[in-house]
């Protein structure tokens, strides 16, 4: 039964991937997309360029982001035993935003403005660096505070509050910034899968793979955490060490992805619930790969929808993930099946 579900998901993945590459402002027939992707000389040079330089990196980014954010959400929900937890609640996304705001809103800083204008907003190494540092800063703060706290719920609240403080700082900064600078920052907050190409894509892939590996290796301790801190400890788990490991891998995943693609919401909350509902398991050795699969499919679908098929307009990805993710969250909270667990 599970094998069939995985096969269905895999074929959905292939279909969504091809469709995502085929979609865009320039119409390329599916047949030619396959030709470009799988044969050495694909024919039409423009199409080859569009696919290899723009659409393929974007689709690959969607896959990486889908995997990373879903697993982040899964880990957070288990660690905090809270069905609505994801990486954004820990303030990690907020930290990344702070880093980006720091660069973009430093009024009069000509160098930063120059690099942004030259390389595009999401493509700037400066932005990526600032975002990663911001995420790391909040992560170190949380790990530091949490090492002296016993209760995971309190860690969660501390994370939410740190996020609030960070966003307040950003808001104050925005309030005193000129409209053009605010606009750039706002566009970054919409999130974007495009613009991660070449070397950046490679780095994103390495960072996310590392995070996923750590979280797969911690699947056993995540299972133990399902029973709560006391039971986990009674089974020989050093809860503080486990918590630091989980927060670290979450930070690597969320920090890296936010740095390259902006804050992308709702995937992290929604996908773990879909995975658990679909496979009816709480075994993380199973859930982590399944989350990757569903997250990938969902992210690709969101990207397809964002192209507004048949039009020249591209909507910000964050808008679409919220449109798709929020109903899932509502279904979890108020739906007919009891899915409130984690």
């Amino acid at each position: 039964m599970n094998k069939i579900k995985i096969l269905v998901l895999l074929s959905l993945l292939v279909a969504a991937f091809l469709l995502d590459v085929a979609m865009g402002s320039v119409h390329i027939p599916l047949k030619d997309v396959i030709k470009v992707l799988f044969t050495p000389d694909g024919g039409n040079d423009t199409w080859v360029y569009i696919i290899e330089k723009i659409r393929l990196p974007k689709a690959l980014t969607a896959i990486i982001v889908g995997c990373g954010l879903s697993v982040c959400g899964l880990q957070m929900q288990t660690l905090f035993r809270n069905p609505l937890a994801d990486s954004s609640v820990l303030g990690i996304t907020a930290g990344a935003s702070l880093g980006v705001a720091l660069v973009m809103l430093s009024a009069g800083s000509i160098t930063s403005l120059y690099t942004i204008k030259e390389l595009g907003i999401s493509g700037s190494w400066l932005i990526i660096l600032a975002s990663s540092l911001g995420a790391a800063l909040i992560m170190i703060l949380i790990v530091g505070i949490s090492s002296s706290l016993k209760d995971n719920v309190i860690v969660l609240i501390v994370g939410v509050m740190l996020g609030n403080i960070t966003f307040s700082v950003i808001s104050i900064w925005q309030y005193f910034s000129s409209p053009e600078l605010i606009k750039d920052y706002l566009i970054w907050t919409f999130g974007s899968l495009g613009g991660v190409t070449g070397g950046q894509l490679l780095i994103l892939a390495i960072v996310v793979s590392a995070g996923l590996l750590i979280s797969f290796l911690s699947s056993k301790l995540l299972d133990a955490l399902l029973l709560g801190d006391n039971y986990a400890r009674s089974m020989g788990l050093t809860v503080k060490r486990a918590r630091i490991l989980v927060i670290a891998s979450t930070s690597i995943l969320a920090g890296g992805i936010t740095a390259f693609c902006g804050p992308i919401g709702f995937i992290g909350i929604a996908v773990p619930h879909l995975a658990r509902a679909l496979f009816g398991t709480s075994n993380h050795r199973m859930l982590i790969p399944v989350c990757c699969l569903i997250g990938t499919v969902l992210m690709l679908v969101c990207d397809i929808v964002a192209q507004l098929p048949g039009s020249q307009t591209v909507l910000p990805i964050n808008v679409i993930t919220a449109l798709v993710g929020s109903p899932v969250v509502i279904w979890v909270i108020a739906g007919p099946k009891k899915l409130r667990g984690f």
Partner: protein
């Protein structure tokens, strides 16, 4: 019961809470306790006397304020969590309500201290799990989700998980809370049986005084002041420890019956003759209605006849009356 192998020993142990860095509040102690293999020990005591704190400290979840705990002759505080996990398993009052966790997976988590990095079960693990399932009678609901279990079933599953952890000591914190009477009896009987058959030591806290008196090999009786009396159930009844631990205003422990008296001593007295079941229940009915039973009373009641057709004869200073139903008798005598 095999020998008198000492599993756990405490010396000068004081338990309590730490509030702040250097402040602590002692709840109970100093305690010198010994726990032998194959024993079932019931920890009794009024609410708030520190039963859970003691259990949490013994199981290593909480640091002692003072004193030493030795687990199989090793200092508990110097043992790693993973080492303790192979010696002590727990059934806690913590609510485990993970919607997607099925019973078998939960029981299998008991093998956590023994499995490798990814938690893959070996054939031996599966064997131990199957034994735990069999011993606890949880085989019937293996495929179900934890959410769908009743409180009684859930406790059994948590016990099965502790059994799968395969430790010489199992500690249970109020396992009978929230259970109905048959489930309570069933669980206590099961624990007693496990202690006898597997030579594991079982330490549990409970409020089930009468059940504990029936099944425990030893009773640890805590009083609100932090005192702990340990001994055979009968010893503690006879030496007055129970009265001391539970006596509050208006409630008294009756050493003759091993129960607490709910009723005040009555003002009217009556003597009751007869040793049938009917006579026994008539005494209970009289006490409930405010009578004291005394052989020297002026009112004399004789319960005669067969059990299914008892006859109540009252002799009140020569005034005699005969009743054929208990209700009629009570209605008249209450005035």
């Amino acid at each position: 019961m095999a020998g008198q192998k000492i599993l756990l020993q405490t010396s000068g142990l004081t338990v309590g809470y730490r509030s702040g860095r250097n402040q602590s509040k002692a709840v109970a102690g100093p305690l010198d306790l010994t726990l032998y293999a194959g024993q079932m020990i019931c920890l009794l005591g009024p609410n708030g006397c520190g039963k859970s704190t003691l259990l949490r400290t013994i199981s290593g979840l909480q640091e002692p304020i003072e004193g030493r705990i030795e687990l199989e002759e090793k200092n508990l505080r110097q043992m790693k969590p993973s080492q303790i996990a192979q010696k002590i398993s727990l059934v806690l009052t913590d609510n485990v309500r993970s919607a997607n966790l099925d019973v078998y997976s939960l029981i299998a988590l008991g093998r956590y201290p023994y499995s490798g990095w990814l938690g893959i079960l070996t054939d031996h693990d599966k064997l131990v799990i199957d034994q735990a399932i069999k011993a606890t009678g949880t085989g019937a609901f293996l495929g179900r989700k934890i959410d769908s279990l009743s409180d009684g079933e859930c406790q059994k599953v948590m016990l099965a998980r502790a059994m799968a952890q395969d430790t010489p000591l199992i500690i249970l914190d109020e396992p009978t809370a929230h259970l109905d009477l048959p489930s309570r009896i069933q669980l206590m009987r099961l624990l007693h049986q496990l202690a006898k058959e597997t030579d594991k030591a079982i330490l549990l806290s409970t409020h089930e005084l009468d059940l504990a008196l029936q099944v425990a090999d030893r009773i640890w009786l805590m009083s609100s002041g932090g005192r702990l009396d340990a001994g055979l159930p009968e010893e503690l009844v006879l030496n007055g420890a129970f009265q001391h631990a539970f006596n509050k205003d208006e409630i008294e422990f009756d050493a003759a019956t091993g129960t607490f008296n709910i009723h005040y001593a009555g003002k009217q007295t009556i003597s009751v003759t007869g040793d049938s079941t009917a006579a026994f229940w008539t005494r209970k009915a009289l006490i409930r209605n405010g009578f004291s039973i005394s052989a020297a009373a002026e009112k004399k009641l004789t319960v005669s006849g067969e059990d299914n057709h008892p006859v109540w004869e009252v002799d009140d200073n020569g005034k005699r009356a005969v009743y054929t139903t208990l209700r009629e008798f009570l209605d008249t005598i209450k005035i």
